[in-house]
Amino acid sequence: MTKVSMTVNGVAVSGDVEGRTLLSGFLRDHLNLTGTHIGCDTAQCGACVVHVNGEAVKSCNMLALEADGADVGTIEGQAAEDGTLSAIQQAFQDHHGLQCGFCTPGMVMSTAALLKENPRPTEGEIRKYLEGNLCRCTGYHNIVKAIMAASGQDVSSIAAE
């Protein structure tokens, strides 16, 4: 066991982990931050996306020890302290951008990273950016629409919500 320390959603945390413990496992099992989901074992689905030092990272693809000293953000830290949803979260609700909710934390975290680097992405840029995030429920229609809306674009001409 090795001690690992990091900041998660602004709070300093630490724990003893095995060398093979993944960041996703540390978040879920040690910190009980179960909003980060595990949907695959090949780093394909993106349900586990978190932010590490401001970058979107698949937390199943990183050892907890690699995040030692890092500033980590998870889905639990996206809403305001009083519970008000972020603009991205609110757009997902407004435009029915989620159904079962399992891929949703990763989608929200990826979207936040996308909009940071490209504040007004086109439909094509959004679809391309989401290649690392799988959703089985929505057919992506309302996810793409929600992201366009979250970035301040008029989505009224896009078919039904």
């Binding site: 095995e18 093979r20 879920r28 931050l33 179960t34 909003g35 980060t36 989901h37 595990i38 949907g39 695959c40 074992d41 090949t42 394909q44 689905c45 998870t74 889905i75 639990e76 996206q78 809403a79 519970g83 949803l85 979260q89 997902f92 609700q93 407004d94 029915h96 989620l98 159904q99 079962c100 909710g101 399992f102 891929c103 949703t104 934390p105 929200v108 439909e123 094509g124 959004i126 679809r127 391309k128 989401l130 290649e131 995030n133 799988l134 959703c135 089985r136 429920c137 929505t138 057919g139 992506y140 229609h141 309302n142 996810i143 793409v144 629409k145 896009i158 078919a159 039904a160 919500e161």
Partner: protein, 786 residues
């Protein structure tokens, strides 16, 4: 104006807040103090005889609590099949045992051989690697037609062959069918494969089980679409446990699509072993494990023949299908190629003579069962593909050929056992033609051609039998379960309402849509109504969510129970208002006496029900009612879909340029949610048509066992969809007039995509009759250059 609340409003989903903030409670989020972890050692051989299992080295490894093999389950029941099919000769299907852990033989890659329980998951995995298993490998039975031959290697030694059943529906007289085809002016024949798929809900399956020696109670948390079904099957058929001592909870479930209907061995194992180990146990499937243990979908090989007269009227349809059931019978597997498939072969058309023949086969593959649509996509695909081929052969417009043969009078008795209650197929096609701007297709094709691309338009119809199902009918057809549902409406003293429902929401938005109905009936705010689901200790005995049944069946039970509530509340209101019950009207949450200004509010009546000081003596206190609802018939959602593709003639790459759906779902409670259900179904249907394929090699090795190998549709594979739900013929036999919308997209879309690609190729001068799904660039290119 769209409504802003109640039935017909696109109310935002209340469940979204917890899902968007990481506060969902999925099964893998549940941890029980003191839990140990389960890891299954699974066969990496498709077919073989187990000669020895040596667990001695593994048992001494750190953290190991106990190791189980098939020996520990001798005398314990196996996994049951919930539907007995009677074959064409009147004999019951062959029904082999399906043990919790392999007994004597392994029959597919992924078949569980042993299970290790250890203090940590890592220790359980490490110990499993130290188990020595000797397997005498046998030839893998993979090809369905070869498996049906006399002398084929037997998968189940005690069965007479590998055929589960040889079944038929419709016209029994072969001579009569032959005569129809002999007299036809034109016959179109098509061989096609409905490719095997993996449902792949994003949440893998999980089971957490605990047992209390103090109370002798079991609790199983599991990723299920129907917790009561799991409890019944596990208690009555597998473990022999008293139902009242077993609580099954399906909390937030991350998608199902059918594959979480079934009772799985891992659930029974964890429940059994939690007692044996006296420890809470947790098992979480990895995605690779899901690929080799979740029931898979489709996998039909068919020949379909359509007979037409000289005026292009359909005169006969004959299909012969080999349906792959995999190595064992999953819970509802036997019903999929039969009653959920053969019965839909009339489609939207008045074909007078139909004969359906199905041989259901055992093979050394993962069991196959219901996946979104379940039999109905396979029927729709055959029918809508052969019609399109016939139109091309005859040189007629494929839409006109369909319209000419549409059923237009309702109710309509099909030759394959169903009675369609209502529909308007021409009206729905009109909606499609407008919504998809089919009039503008020629111009769009010209533009594509100018860019060096081939453009194609594919159109098809579908019908499905949903609202599953009338118990008396399915009982006659072999179902070993009733298919009613149930709801309890509990009104609290202050007027808020908890509705306990048998349906389970795993993405469908019941927590939002169901309260819209109850609130609308009473005239109160939706926020005063809450749905409770997924916990057998809280809800009445309902059958869960599948077959697009939740609102049509459970919703109907909820309406019936709410009607009982309103009836009783009117009695109380009449007493308070000193009026006759017959004169009491309920509107906007106020009970009033007709023709007067006397009224009492909903909240005052509910408070009186629980503080019954001034109360009618003949009425019981309280305000809580339960209703069970058994549907009188199936519901029949129907629609017409259009797909436009571009094909790159250099590479065979297909891109979806437009996809439009016109569906008739009857009445709609929440249009936003219904549209979302259709989007998701279309996404899966396009996935089947272009990308997805569950592939095995000839030795039974699963080649597509991860998201690296199985091509799930990604955002940039799919377009925005157009959906039109304004064609509405309400269901005639349930109180809401609803039909169900969950599966339509997946049923209606694959033939549209294939028809579109073939239209593009033929328009480009390539005479191609058929390409099997998934239409990968290499397959399309080969067809163009073959």
């Amino acid at each position: 104006m769209p409504k802003d609340s109640g039935i017909g409003a696109s109310s935002k989903r209340r469940e979204d807040v917890r899902f968007l903030t990481g506060a969902g409670n999925y099964t893998d989020d549940i941890n029980v103090h003191g839990q140990a972890y389960v890891h299954f050692l699974r066969s990496d051989i498709a077919h073989g005889r187990i000669s020895n299992i040596d667990t001695s080295a593994a048992e001494g490894m750190p953290g190991v609590v106990k190791i189980f093999t098939g020996k520990d389950f001798e005398g314990v029941g196996g996994m049951p099949c919930g539907w007995e099919i009677t074959d064409r000769h009147g004999a019951p299907m062959q029904e082999p045992p399906h043990p919790i852990l392999a007994q004597g033989k392994v029959r597919h890659v992924g078949d569980p051989i042993a299970a290790v329980v250890a203090d940590s998951l890592e220790q359980a995995r490490d110990a499993a690697e130290a188990i020595e298993v000797d397997i005498e490998e046998l030839p893998a039975v993979m090809d369905m037609k070869a498996a049906a031959q006399d002398g084929a290697t037997l998968i189940h030694d005690d069965l007479k062959n590998n055929i589960c059943y040889d079944w038929h529906l419709g016209e029994e007289d072969n001579d009569k069918v032959n005569e129809v085809f002999a007299n036809a002016a034109h016959v179109t024949t098509l061989d096609l494969i409905n490719n095997r798929l993996v449902a792949n809900p994003m949440e893998p399956r999980v089971a957490v089980a605990e047992y209390s020696r103090g109370t002798e109670d079991y609790t199983l948390y599991t990723t299920s679409q129907n917790p009561h079904v799991i409890r019944l099957l596990m208690c009555a058929f597998v473990l022999g446990l008293p139902e009242h001592k077993v609580r099954v909870v399906a909390p937030d479930v991350g998608g199902g699509f059918g594959t979480k209907i079934f009772h799985y061995a891992e659930e029974a194992f964890c429940t059994f072993a939690a007692k044996a180990c006296n420890r809470p146990l947790k098992w979480t499937a990895s995605r690779s494990e899901a690929f080799m243990s979740d029931a898979q979908g489709r996998d039909h090989v068919s020949t379909v023949e359509l007979a037409l007269d000289a005026d292009n009227n359909f005169t006969g349809l004959r299909t012969n299908t080999y349906a792959n059931l995999g190595a064992y019978l999953s819970t509802f597997s036997s019903s999929v190629p039969t009653w959920l498939h053969g019965t839909l072969m009339a489609g939207n058309y008045k074909t007078p003579v139909i004969q359906v023949n199905v041989k259901a086969m055992f093979t050394n593959t993962v069991p196959v069962d219901a996946y979104r649509g379940a039999g109905r996509p396979e029927a729709t695909y055959q029918l809508e593909r052969v019609i399109d081929k016939a139109a091309r052969e005859l040189g007629v417009d494929p839409i006109a050929l369909r319209r000419q043969n549409f059923i237009t009078q309702f109710p309509y008795d099909t030759p394959v056992a169903l009675t369609y209650d209502t529909g308007d197929y021409n009206g729905t096609m009109d909606k499609l033609e407008a919504a998809a701007d089919l009039a503008g297709f020629a111009a769009r094709r010209a533009e594509s051609e100018a860019n060096g691309k081939l453009r194609g338009l594919g159109v098809n119809c579908y019908i499905e039998a949903c609202g599953i199902a009338p118990s008396n009918i399915v009982g006659m057809l072999g179902a070993r379960a009733g298919l009613y549902d149930a709801a309890t409406v509990r009104v609290n003293a202050t007027g808020s309402i908890s509705v306990m429902v048998g349906a389970h929401s795993h993405g469908q938005g019941h927590e939002t849509a169901f309260p819209q109905v109850v609130a609308d009936m009473i005239g109160i705010d939706e926020s005063m109504v809450e749905i409770v689901h997924g916990d057998t200790s809280k809800i009445p005995f309902g059958m869960g969510t599948y077959g697009s049944r939740s609102l049509a069946v459970c919703g109907s039970a909820m309406v019936k129970a709410t009607e009982k509530i309103i009836d009783k509340a009117k009695k109380i209101a009449a007493h308070l208002l000193e009026a006759s019950e017959a004169d009491i009207e309920l509107k906007d949450g106020q009970f009033s006496v007709a023709g007067t200004d006397k009224s009492v509010a909903w909240g005052d009546v509910t408070l009186t029900a629980y503080v019954p000081h001034n109360f009618p003596l003949e009425v019981e206190p309280g305000l809580e009612e339960t209703a069970f609802y058994d549907p009188a018939n199936f519901t029949f959602p129907a629609g017409a879909y259009a797909c436009e593709v571009e094909v790159d003639p250099e590479t065979g790459q297909v891109t979806i340029e437009a996809f439009t759906a016109a569906d008739d779902f009857g009445n709609i409670v929440n249009p936003m949610i219904v549209d979302g259900q259709v989007h998701g179904g279309i996404g899966q249907g396009i996935g089947q048509a272009l990308l997805e394929n569950c592939a095995y090699d000839e030795n039974g090795q699963l080649l597509s066992a991860s998201f690296m190998d199985y091509a799930m549709p990604r955002a940039d594979d799919l377009p925005f969809y157009g959906v039109d739900h304004s064609s509405q013929t309400p269901c005639t036999h349930n109180p809401l007039g609803v039909k169900g919308c969950g599966e339509a997209g997946a049923i209606g879309s694959p033939p549209a995509v294939v028809n579109a690609v073939l239209d593009a190729l033929n328009a480009g001068g390539k005479a191609v009759d058929h390409i099997d799904m998934p239409m990968s660039p290499s397959r399309v290119w080969a067809a163009m250059n073959g």
